[in-house]
Structure formats: C-alpha cells, structure tokens
C-alpha cells in the first residue's frame, strides 16, 4: 500500500481548462493516472483531450464518475470556493496546487472544513505522487505538478513543504536505487490542510513505507511538533533537511509561510528538534538520500 492515493484512485481536476490545469492534467494522463473528470463552470458537456468529460460542478462530476480526489488549479480569488465545493461534494481528498490564496480565505476554509470527512493538502503545493510499476514509474497516481518520471516504486515516504526540494530528494533516492511509497508536498503557506505530523502518522501506519524523508523550512513550528511525536511513536528511520538557515529575520522567503518572526521558526530550532528526536539531519540538499541511507544502516 501507499498513503492517501493508489494507482486506482479516480481523480478529478478543478480548473482543467485553464492553461496550468490543462497542462498538468495532460501530464497526469500520460503518466497513467486515472483522471476521470474535469470541472470548469460553464464548460460542462465538453471533453478534455477527447477523453475526459468536463462538468459544471464537482457534485455532478463525483456523481457521474465516482471520483474521490480532486486537484485544484483554480486561480487564487476563486480557490477557497473551489476547495469548499470539493468538500461539500464529499471528496476524500482535495489537493490544492494554487499559489497565492489570501490567508484570511484559507483561515475560513480550514474552519469550515472542521467537521467534514475531507482531507485538504496544500495550498501552494506540488501535490502528491504514488509511483507506478511501469517504466519510469508509469501507471502511478500523480496529482499536481511534480515530474512523474523521476519516481520509482519502492518503500521510502517523502514529505515536504517545498516542490523542487521534494524533486531533489526523490531524484537522489531513485538514482541510488531507492523507490518511494508516496511523496507528499504539503505546501509553503502558513495555513495548510495537512501538516508534516499528519503525513508522518500515515507513513508510520503504512506497511509499505519503511523509511521517511521529511523536508522542512523556516517559519512556524510544525517540524518541531512532528519531530517530538516521531521521537515517541515513529518506528521507522527518518532523515530530515531544513532550508533557510541564512534567511534574514522578518522576510518572507518566496513561500508565504517561510518567515522567521519574533525569533520563532528558525532553522536552528528545527534542526535541533530533529537531532533531539533521532532524525538524521542532511547537512546540505545534496545529502538528503545519503542521510537516510546512513540512518537506515544504523538501525
């Protein structure tokens, strides 16, 4: 098994006719992912790439195709509405790729979702990949914008706030012969649906995941919380990397959530928390897979 999604997961794309959504919907189809529906209000009845039916509402798409997961590519002013539409349609998982959603909108979304069964991943995230068994991991479930071919089916779980750092870690693992169970980008915003800790718990329960790479960055205290939990409960070897040690205080480093303020959220604090929890710390981004291999050999 993997976590969150399998190669059989039926996926719908909200915003499938926008250039960004369309491009990545096509790449997911090419990867072998079961993209069963698209949603663009006003374009219901059309077909995407001659094969994927487009609906006006998520409710219709779910009813007609049985999709359980959506990827949101809707522009920031309309993204909060799109997420809640997916929640209301009873989706299991809503993966929000959109970058630049106002924080107050996300605050309301998060509170509105409190009693729903839907899990939100993102926003401002690369999405997730459960690699397939075909050549270059073809046949897997790719939701979002990650390059599919860098993956390889296997037993390492990856969780990260950053897209390209996830790709670095995955590529390092793949080129060293270590495949992945599932790779999850949780996003770079200060308010997100799923935390490092949520994903760690899932990896810990997943029989297919044997080791974990956790990638964090400055801002907030989510990495510290995940590390503290891991020290007590996680049976599997973990390697970690934290970006942003040289970032000046009070500046947002690209990601809306990557900011050190009032002495909180520093790289030092997170690295220290990792070390205290027995997580092998990668010294540089080139060292992520090797750090995990070191940690695995030790246990």
């Amino acid at each position: 098994m993997s976590i969150l999604v399998t190669p059989d997961t039926k996926v719908l794309i909200q915003g499938i006719t926008g250039s960004f959504g369309a491009r990545h919907a096509k790449l997911s189809l090419d990867y072998g992912t079961k993209v069963v529906a698209g949603v663009t209000p006003g374009k219901g009845g059309q077909l995407f790439e001659g094969q994927v039916p487009i609906f006006d509402t998520v409710e219709q798409a779910v009813r007609e195709t049985g999709a359980t997961v959506s990827a949101v590519f809707v522009p920031p002013p309309f993204a909060a509405d799109a997420i809640l539409e997916g929640v209301d349609a009873g989706l299991e998982l809503v993966v929000t790729i959109t970058e630049g959603i106002p924080v107050i909108d996300m605050m309301r979304v998060k509170h509105a979702m409190k009693d729903s069964k839907t899990r939100l991943i993102g926003p401002n995230c690369p999405g997730l990949v459960t690699p397939g068994t075909g050549e270059k991991s073809h046949g897997g479930c790719r939701i979002g914008i990650a390059p599919g071919y860098i993956h390889k089916k296997g037993n390492v779980g990856v969780v990260s706030r950053s897209g390209t750092l996830t790709y670095e870690a995955v590529w390092q693992l793949t080129t060293r012969g270590y495949g992945q169970s599932t790779c999850v980008g949780i996003g770079g915003d200060p308010i997100n649906g799923t935390s490092h800790l949520d994903v760690l718990k899932m990896f810990n329960e997943d029989p297919e995941t044997e080791a974990i790479i956790m990638i964090g960055e400055i801002g907030g205290t989510a990495e510290e919380e995940a590390a503290a939990w891991a020290a007590q409960h996680c049976k599997k070897p973990i390697a970690g990397f934290i970006a942003g040690a040289t970032a000046p205080e009070g500046r947002r480093m690209g990601h809306a959530g990557a900011i050190v303020s009032g002495g909180q959220g520093t790289a030092e604090s997170k690295i220290e928390a990792f070390r205290a929890s027995g997580i092998e710390v990668a010294e540089t981004p080139s060292d992520m897979a090797d750090a995990l291999i070191r940690r695995m050999k030790r246990s």
Partner: protein, 396 residues
C-alpha cells in the same frame, strides 16, 4: 507590504479607531498649517520613514532625533524644515539612512499608561489571535521572555469575529475599567474589523495609551498586509512607497521574480523557493556569502532566467553567480539555452557556475559546454557551491 505611520492613522480614522489628532505635511509651511488647525496645546512632529527607532535616530545634517515635541506652529515649521529632505539614520535603516519626505504633525499626548495590543493570524490554530499586555511602549518579545504572565493571548473565531465579551475581557486584563472599558470595547472591535477588511497579517498597536484626561488611543501602530490579498485591496496598494524598498527588489517584482537582496557577494538563481533557500544555505556552508534569494518559479522560463540575470548583474556587490535548476518538467536544454543567451546579452564577466539536473540534462550540459562562455558545471549542489566560492576567492 508595510505602510507609513500617517497612513496607519488614515486607516484608523476610516475605521473609527481612536488615535491622536494630526495630519501629514510635505513642506515646513504645510506643517505650520496643520499645527495651526490643532487644539492649541503641545505638538509633536515625527519624521515619516518605515524604519523603527526614529526618536533615537540622527540626521546626516547633524540634527538629532526624528521625533520632537514643541509648543507652537512656528516651532513645528522650524522642526519640519530640519527633517524634510534630510537623511535619517536609525538602528533599523543601516548606515545609509532614509530620506524623509513627509512629517506627521499631531497633538502631543499626556500619557498616563502605556499598553500593548496586537492582532495577528496564528498558524497553530489557523485563527486570528489577540495579544495584549500591560507592558506597552517596549519590545513585546522582551516582555514575553522576561514576564510571560503579563501577556494575554485570546483566540478569535474567524466566523464570529471578536465578541463584545472578549473585548471586555481584554479590557479588564489591561485594567481598563469604568468609562475606559467602553472606549476599549469600541477600539478593539473597530481594529478587528479593520484587520479583516483590509487583509492584514498583523496589526500591532504599541503603545496603546491612556491619557491623563482619561482617553484611550492608539499612539503608534505597525501594519503588515497579506501580499496574496493585495489584488483586492487597491487602497492599500496605493499606500505602497517604493522609495522605502530595496531598488533591486522593486525591479525584480516588475518581472514577477521572487527576489530578496542580502549583503553577500555570490548571487544565486534557483527554481523553487525551498531550493532557493537551500542554495543560499549551501553557499554559506561552502564558505561563501549569498548576495540574494532568487526564485524564478518552479517552471523557470527562458525569459525569467534572462531578467533574473540582469537584476543580479545590476548589483555591484555581486562577484560570482551560482545557477541551480532542477528541471523537472522544463527541458534542461531549453534552460541551458536561456542561460547562455542571458550571459551573452549581459556581457557576463564574473565567474558563473551552473548546476542543472532533471529532464534532458545531458543535452543541457552539452549546450553549456559548447557555448564558448567561461562557465563551470557543478556535478551536484554542493560541488557547484564549492566551485563558485573557490572561483570568487581566486578572482578577488
């Protein structure tokens, strides 16, 4: 995005948050006019720059202090003439200082008590949180460290907003009783409404003061706005003062590049924010010093690479460039062509190390190698960082 003190007061006026009467002035004559229109008591003249520490700052013309009290409109005019057009240096401006283009002229306030009140978005609860303290006029981080019991934190339900009982609870904890409690309720409610309506990420009123004659008012305030929400806040965008920002960052924002200037000498150009931070870190790890944070976006188009090169090279401190691209979906060869074109177009004369990885990387490396440019390739990020640090040291 940040705003000036006088702009914060304009927002207060719009939302009914009590503050000291006064107005902004662009010239000494205007300062005199504003002062004449006030109540006739003591006056305060304050230099308008974004940086803190104005009161203790010094002007480059030798005049001390960016905040002064005086007794008459003529004196206000004289003070304004010593500040306007002059460069004020404070502990937050750096030695180069900031030119003062405007002053705020207001009624001086006889302070009885100084308090602290702030609203921000709490990441842990995904909700607004109010932070209040009886210890105003000082740095709140110091209060939090030394006397944490003097800080009240109160979470606000984002759907209900701040409830009247919560405003009374805060007032009571600040010792605001009798008629002051009603004033406090009104001020806290209006400030919360302002916070939400204008998409703030933080409003900090420090100090919130009780005057000798029993009025509660916001004496100074710091605002931060959510950059993601600026598209729906035209009034806030209009308050942006680009002269307060790093010119390198202003130029980069015109090209939709995520750039933050630092004071090192090795520039970096990276795709993705996380990788860009990690690249700065690794430059330091290899013994160098990063000149900037620069994320050209996960996609990294040829045009963005070219404008990024121009911005980097416009910085005279930069003595070497490290390009670090993970071409996941983008073809590395297309990126390589973009780098070569940009380097040739800008007449690159400083060391350049490129580390490419990902889709069609072999073709990309060939394009770089056969470009005729003096550049090195890095095998991995660490190797690339070591090479650029060595090249910059050798050239120095």
């Amino acid at each position: 995005m940040n705003i000036h003190e006088f702009q914060a007061r304009e927002l207060f006026a719009e939302f009914g948050v009590a503050t000291q009467p006064g107005k902004v002035a662009n010239t000494p004559a205007e300062a005199e006019t504003v002062a004449t229109g006030l109540s006739g008591g003591k006056l305060v003249v304050k230099a308008q720059i974004h940086a803190g520490g104005r009161g203790k700052g010094t002007f480059k013309n030798g005049f001390k202090g960016g905040v002064h009290l005086c007794d008459s409109p003529t004196e206000a005019k004289d003070l304004a003439s010593k500040m306007l057009g002059q460069v004020l240096v404070t502990h937050q401006t750096g030695p180069e200082g900031k030119e003062v283009g405007k002053v705020f002229v207001g009624e001086a306030v006889d302070i009885a008590r100084e308090l602290y009140f702030a609203i921000l978005i709490d990441r842990a609860t995904s909700a607004p949180v109010v932070i209040a303290s009886t210890e105003g006029g000082v740095d709140i981080e110091t209060v939090a460290e030394k006397t944490p019991e003097k800080i009240l934190r109160l979470s606000i339900n984002p759907f209900l907003g701040i409830m009247p009982y919560q405003t009374r609870l805060i007032a009571a904890s600040l010792g605001l009783t009798g008629p002051l409690m009603n004033q406090a309720s009104k001020l806290f409610t209006n400030l919360y409404n302002l916070f939400i309506a204008r998409d703030c990420s933080m409003v900090e009123v420090n100090p919130l003061v009780v005057t000798q004659d029993g009025r509660l008012m916001a004496l100074d305030a710091k605002f931060n706005f959510d950059d993601n929400a600026l598209y729906r806040q035209p009034g806030i965008v209009a308050m942006r003062d680009v002269t307060e920002e790093d010119p390198r960052e202003v130029e980069a924002s015109k090209h939709s590049l995520n750039y933050i200037g630092l004071d090192g000498n090795i520039a970096c150009l990276v795709n993705g924010a996380g990788l860009a931070m990690a690249t700065m870190d690794i430059i330091q790890h290899a013994g160098g010093s990063p000149a900037n944070f620069l994320d050209v976006g996960g996609g990294a188009s040829k045009e963005q690479v070219a404008s990024a090169f121009r911005i980097i090279l416009a910085d005279p401190l930069v003595k070497g460039i490290l390009v670090n691209i993970f071409g996941g979906i983008m073809d590395c060869d297309v990126i390589a062509h973009g780098i070569v074109e940009a380097a040739k177009e800008t007449g690159l004369s400083i060391p350049l190390v490129v580390r490419l990885e990902g889709n069609n990387v072999e073709a990309g490396k060939k394009t770089l190698a056969s470009s005729g440019l003096k550049l090195e390739s890095g095998e991995n990020i660490l190797d690339a960082a070591k090479k650029i640090v060595a090249a910059v040291k050798a050239a120095a």
